[in-house]
């Protein structure tokens, strides 16, 4: 049984279905990512799991605790970072962290050292005495994440943790997520950045229009679409005639010369290397490098969801301002 179990989760607003029968499981110590464009249903799903919105589901459990019937008990082991940095503007960083700790019943002797430690860890030590409203976007997000970690939760929920914040803070946040995973924290995050999902998630679910279209590790997702096999050869020279000769010799291959003068052979079958190398050798062409070209996760996403990757890119630009 996973750390987080969700089965047949649904959410409708009026007669609009925002989440349509979603099921998944997150293992202990795993980073699981929901990747999808704006409006896909990521936040709606997350809010139901954390008990902020009423779910229709057969089952939602976190560490074996039924979220529907024992919401408060489940919330005690969750750390929650909403899509908006929502701490108290009037209070300084340190007081904000201590207040959040107190909500989880932590005593003064426990919460003050922990707050100091988190401020240091997130490089917000100097900002600890400044009011939250004076923070930059990146600092606000970091403090919101620190607040979610104050009670050392077993499961951390992050809703678009790096959307709309600066590159350096985003990098720190990703490093911190990987660091937490090492310590055994289970992490559920949503994002619309393909590279982010690819870089830090153990498993990814593509979500579109309220449904999980595909899920798995990056290699599994890559496997799930049929693709051409392609090999790129980096050579010391090439001739216009090479592609025609290669295509004539190796039936079913499509050969092109790229602008960088490398040569790409593509085929529906795997391409045996030795005969090709022999061909080059006979032509006195030196081959320095031969590597397989794999489709990117972006290609897989586009193919499986039917969503143009530019939709995600556009979100990203919007988020950057």
């Amino acid at each position: 049984m996973g750390m987080v179990n969700v089965s047949n989760l649904k959410k409708t607003y009026g007669n609009f279905t925002a989440v349509n029968d979603i099921s998944f499981e997150i293992d202990k110590g795993e980073i699981f990512g929901f990747l999808g464009p704006n409006g896909a249903g990521k936040t709606s799903t997350l809010n139901m799991i954390i008990g902020l919105s009423r779910p229709t589901a057969e089952e939602i459990t976190v560490d074996g605790i039924d979220v529907k019937s024992q919401t408060k008990k489940a919330q005690a082991i969750m750390g929650i970072v909403p899509d908006e940095s929502n701490l108290y503007n009037e209070m300084d960083g340190f007081d904000n962290l201590c207040f959040c700790a107190a909500l989880y019943g932590m005593r003064k002797e426990e919460r003050e050292p922990k707050a100091r430690q988190l401020l240091e860890q997130f490089r917000l030590k100097d900002a600890g005495k400044r009011p939250f409203k004076a923070y930059s976007k990146g600092m606000r997000r970091k403090l919101t994440i620190a607040a979610a970690l104050i009670h050392s939760p077993q499961v951390l929920f992050l809703d678009e943790p790096t959307t709309g914040i600066d590159v350096e803070s985003s990098r720190q946040i990703r490093d911190m997520v990987l660091e937490l995973k090492k310590k055994g924290t289970t992490i559920f995050l949503t994002t619309h950045y393909i590279e982010e999902a690819e870089r830090i998630c153990d498993r990814i679910a593509f979500i579109a229009e309220g449904q999980i279209v595909a899920s798995g590790t990056v290699p599994q997702l890559m496997e799930s679409i049929s693709h051409d096999h392609a090999i790129q050869f980096v050579t010391d020279k090439n001739f216009e005639s090479l592609p025609v000769e290669l295509e004539a010799l190796f039936k079913g291959n499509e050969v092109t010369i790229r602008p960088d003068h490398s040569l790409v052979m593509a085929s529906e079958q795997r391409i045996p290397l030795f005969p090709v190398m022999e061909f080059f050798h006979n032509k006195e062409v030196e081959v320095y490098e031969a590597r397989e070209l794999r489709p990117s996760l972006e290609d897989v996403f586009v193919k499986l969801t039917g969503i143009e990757s530019s939709v995600l890119k556009k979100d990203k630009e919007k988020g950057g301002h």
Binding site: I50, G51, L52, S53, R54, K72, K73, Q75, A76, M78, I80, P82, E84, N86, L87, Y88, N89, E90, M91, F99, C100, A102, L103, Y104, G105, M106, R107
Partner: protein, 243 residues
């Protein structure tokens, strides 16, 4: 124990961030003071003692309802209120913690006209225990009314409008300045549906001995109002804020 830590810190935070802010403190003092002065100027012949119950009730009413409605709507719009909904504390503890600050603020407001009056008249005949009880009960029911308004309002502006919508009719219907016996007959039943009527009546009893109901009955009614309002608030929060 854990709930107690959460309760105490929510209360402490609200007091520090809202109630002890200079504008609110001065509002809490100036508002009751100016009402007291206004009443004195308007009817110089009237006894300060007779005005005192109305002034106390009003100070509490105005100090609590909009205060809670506005601060909660404010926290809701900034989404920081979600933290309370997501914390592992029961809704009861959360509601109690949120109203506790307002209740204290209301009690503080109530004593502004009392202290003011003490400079002019002898207040030694007052049953302070009963007065405090009445002030406390008015503060509790008004705070809960404020919370109820907060659950219905979406914006701070709306919360303010709603609280005025409740408060101004109350001024005329609760026997604050116009005795209930001089109200038109059809309005009198409405008066008895408002908690403030009972609170004011206790105050009248203890300050000038002019109550129309027994203090025990009034206290009982206030208690019933408080309990009912508490459960309505809890229910509405659950229904409306956990979507």
């Amino acid at each position: 124990m854990k709930s107690w830590i959460a309760f105490w810190n929510i209360l402490k935070k609200d007091i520090k961030n809202y109630y002890l802010k200079p504008p609110n403190i001065s509002w809490g003092i100036i508002f009751p003071l100016s009402w007291t002065l206004m009443q004195l100027i308007r009817s110089p012949g009237r006894n300060i003692l007779e005005l005192l119950p109305g002034l106390i009730s009003m100070s509490v009413l105005f100090g609590t309802t909009s205060m809670l409605a506005v601060t909660i709507t404010f926290e809701r719009s900034g989404r920081s209120f979600d933290r309370l909904l997501l914390a592992p504390i029961s809704l009861n503890v959360m509601v109690l913690a949120k109203i506790a600050g307002t209740i204290l603020f209301g009690i503080f407001n109530a004593f502004v006209p009392v202290i003011f009056a003490s400079f002019f008249i002898d207040l030694s005949a007052i049953d302070w225990g009963l007065l405090l009880l009445a002030v406390l009960m008015i503060a509790i029911t008004s705070s809960l009314t404020g919370l109820l308004i907060a659950v219905s309002a979406k914006q701070v502006f709306e919360a303010q409008t709603f609280s005025n919508f409740f408060r101004f009719p109350m001024l005329f219907l609760c026997g604050l300045f116009i005795p209930i016996s001089s109200l038109p007959l059809f309005l009198r039943p409405v008066s008895f549906c408002l908690p403030l009527t009972y609170g004011t009546d206790i105050l009248r009893g203890t300050i000038v001995g002019a109550n129309i109901l027994s203090p025990l009955l009034s206290s009982g009614m206030l208690l019933i109002f408080a309990v009912v309002l508490f459960f309505i608030c809890r229910h509405n929060i659950n229904e409306k804020w956990i979507l």
